[in-house]
Symmetry: C2
Subunit: 463 residues, 2 copies
């Protein structure tokens, strides 16, 4: 009781240390900041939610948390799928949602400087106006923020050819675990002055610092893409086509897999009019300029046909191919309408994709769990989605067993437990299974080094 | 005296702990391992040189160094230019030169697994046989090793379009500062399981662990390149052409600058027959496939002409263009023949290249130092080479003053003190000037975390 009162008093001092309206403590306000999209992960009740406008305000919160030994949970848009942004009981949630300024776009140096709350699609649109391209395109791009993308090292559809968020981070402004505002990395094209701390912070899920500004590398706008669609009679056949594309030497700019469950769920919800009488479709894009692109498209189509596609064609109808990629993007929310979804994110060697898809189906059948599949297939990054009927606790428990078994299967074939969603809370056991105890010790040592007071998102990534 | 005897006894125990011939202690043998190519940096006399054949042997050395509190200096081919591999008085040098096996090349997963002593060009040739390409191409590629490239996060000619060594490191086997053999990273196309420790080790110059195996990402072989050559009446005009290429939106696969001093030195040495009556040449390559490549070449040529080139042309003569790039590669050793060379490696925003080249010329004139220039120009990565007559101490001292002033000038225009050579010993002051005290503290904290016994290349990067 004494503790509770002392913290209450302390929250008053936090409110007093920041401008009016920056700190929220009303129950109904803070309830909205309890968790991200990983609804199966536990979350606590925050003591307060802070919505800072500047790095200095973030530093004030960090110092307050150190002084009062209160955990701090940074948060972007809350679209994460591993519970990395879930509140810890009695924590302060720092939501970067107000820091939405695109500070600078430089078309000659090909970089942009943005605050962490800038939405991915907003940045992409702003740079496109200047003939530039910011490639990282997670499915959450209409909502997720650059800060959250950096915290999770987010991937997306085009990363098979163009890399993930970390490949575009040049420099960061960060509030450290000691409450200092520092700049890491360099905005120059190259730079090896000291350790790659900007790279270390990227993907660290708010456990090593709070990102308050991001300098990203940009590319020139690219040539128009060609789309190739393939329909397959089984998941495994689609997986064989993916491996065939890898063998062909073509690096597609996208190669996405959707199974029948996903297509049906999207069609029921949005009536996109995609008719696919098949078990799985592959959506490929290639973007080599000129004739080379046409040749690449033909080779991908050939791979689909050789793997036994019931239908494979280059789509020259932009509206049709955009609708298919929209279906890919909508698959997750469409399935969520059917019941709680437990999202997997394993990533395996691309030659293991057919085997792994077969294992996932077998595991689903064995545990009597509906498993829908979407995948960044050419990366080997699979997203089996375990859907359970609302309120069915027995089904949830079976889904959790299947989830653990899929992780084991991925590790068995040389994969990793998380390709792009991060460890958060849901993959802590998986991470522990993936890395050796000595590597876990290195993680703890790095964490103590950068979060000496133990206040930055404690309990996430590593228990 | 007691200390010296006790260490001598200890070296005997090191010899005993490893197979015959692995440890060298004869004065004439170890003299060869005292320093890298940064001849201006100080070096001590190693107690012993170890040439291990396995990661376990490296671990044995690390544990021995911990037990005896002896510094360990890891070393590749010794082509470094910052003194990172220079011996420390009484240290053990660990030369990875015997670990030269290419363990695996996987053309479908597009990766290779190599031991650290594999020479860069050997790897490039081996993967080329399978239609693959390992892009990082430092000028030292005929001699430098992948382990050394990882330790320095080496760049090269094509990184303006294809990135640096770190962009190709998927996973590492590392002997930690505690003597554990660990695996960091994942061989899958994507992976965010835990902190990016493989990325942190890359470029850490042997201060955070000893790399014993490297898994690198590969690309499919690319389309043939087109070469465009431009001759310019001044360094600054060449710099303006570089900025013009950046503005054009073309991303060249190479854009190298050589000034008259470099051309003359190479011509005198190798008689390559390159006649260039000008102050600087630019060598550009573009590699978009098909017609797109021809168009890119034309745009680069247009940029050269607009910037006032006295001659600009696409070279369709492969022998001629290869000779020019060979000259670029030979510039450094050619200048070394003239006297001790102090090599700069600043990297500035590409729009600052003309300004920075002018500043470098002015600083050279002011200090009466011959400054030759080569540059990965499109990255803004400049290599002013300060050449002094052999034995002229006054000239050395003037060169050192010019070196410091060039660093200050680079920082003043938003650059970094090292684009690709690393901090080693020569850039420690520069690094301290570049990063804030709080960031220096983060470096020290990370170092203590990963090198808890303080034995890994102490005194390098950060004093």
């Amino acid at each position: 009781m004494t503790q509770a009162v002392s913290v209450r008093t302390a929250a008053d001092s936090l409110i007093a240390a920041l401008p009016d309206g920056v700190v929220l403590t009303a129950a109904e306000s803070i309830e909205r900041y309890r968790h991200d999209e990983a609804e199966w992960a536990p979350s606590g009740r925050p003591l307060a939610v802070v919505r800072p406008a500047t790095a200095d305000q973030v530093a004030t919160v960090v110092r307050w948390c150190i002084e009062h030994d209160v955990p701090l949970v940074p948060r972007g848009a809350g679209t994460g799928l591993s519970g990395g942004a879930n509140a810890i009981e009695g924590c302060v949630v720092v939501s970067l949602e107000r820091m939405t300024t695109i500070v600078r776009i430089d078309p000659v140096e090909r970089l942009a400087v943005v605050q962490p709350g800038v939405v991915n699609d907003h940045l992409r649109a702003a740079v496109a106006e200047q003939g530039l391209w910011y490639p990282p395109d997670p499915a959450s791009s209409p909502w997720s923020t650059i800060g959250g993308n950096v915290a999770t090292n987010a991937g997306g559809v085009c990363c098979v050819k163009y890399g993930v968020t970390g490949d575009y981070v040049l420099a960061l402004e960060v509030v450290t675990g000691s409450g200092d505002v520092v700049r890491l990395g360099t905005p120059t094209a190259k730079g090896v002055a000291g350790y790659d701390l900007a790279g270390l912070l990227t993907g660290s899920e708010g456990t090593l610092g709070v990102v308050t500004e991001v300098t990203v590398r940009l590319r020139p706008a690219r040539a128009p893409e060609h789309t190739v669609v393939g329909f397959f009679g089984s998941l495994v056949a689609a997986g064989e086509a993916v491996a065939a594309v890898a063998r062909s030497g073509v690096v597609p700019s996208a190669l996405e897999l959707l199974d029948r469950y996903c297509l049906d769920a999207v069609n029921e919800w949005k009536q996109l009019g995609i008719e696919a009488d098949c078990e799985a479709i592959l959506l490929a894009r290639v973007d080599a300029p000129g004739d080379a692109g046409v040749q690449e498209a033909a080779r991908v189509q050939g791979c689909f046909e050789q793997a036994g596609a019931s239908y494979a064609a280059r789509s020259d109808d932009e509206a049709e191919s955009d609708a298919m990629f929209a279906a890919r993007r909508l698959a997750y929310p469409a399935l969520e309408r059917l019941g709680p979804v437990l999202t997997e994110d394993v990533c395996v060697p691309v030659t293991q994709v057919p085997h792994m898809l077969a294992r996932i189906q077998a595991i689903g059948a064995e545990h009597d769990v509906l498993v829908a599949n979407i995948a960044h297939a050419a990366d080997g990054n699979l997203h089996p989605l375990l859907v359970t009927p609302p309120g069915d606790e027995a089904a949830r428990s079976r889904a959790q067993a299947a989830f653990a078994e899929i992780i084991t299967a991925a590790l068995d074939c040389g994969g990793t437990v998380t390709g792009e969603h991060g460890v958060g809370l849901l993959k802590r056991d998986g991470l522990a299974a993936e890395i050796s105890p000595a590597v876990a010790d290195l993680h703890r040592a790095v964490r103590r080094a950068l979060d000496p007071h133990g206040i930055l998102n404690p309990g996430k990534v590593i228990a």
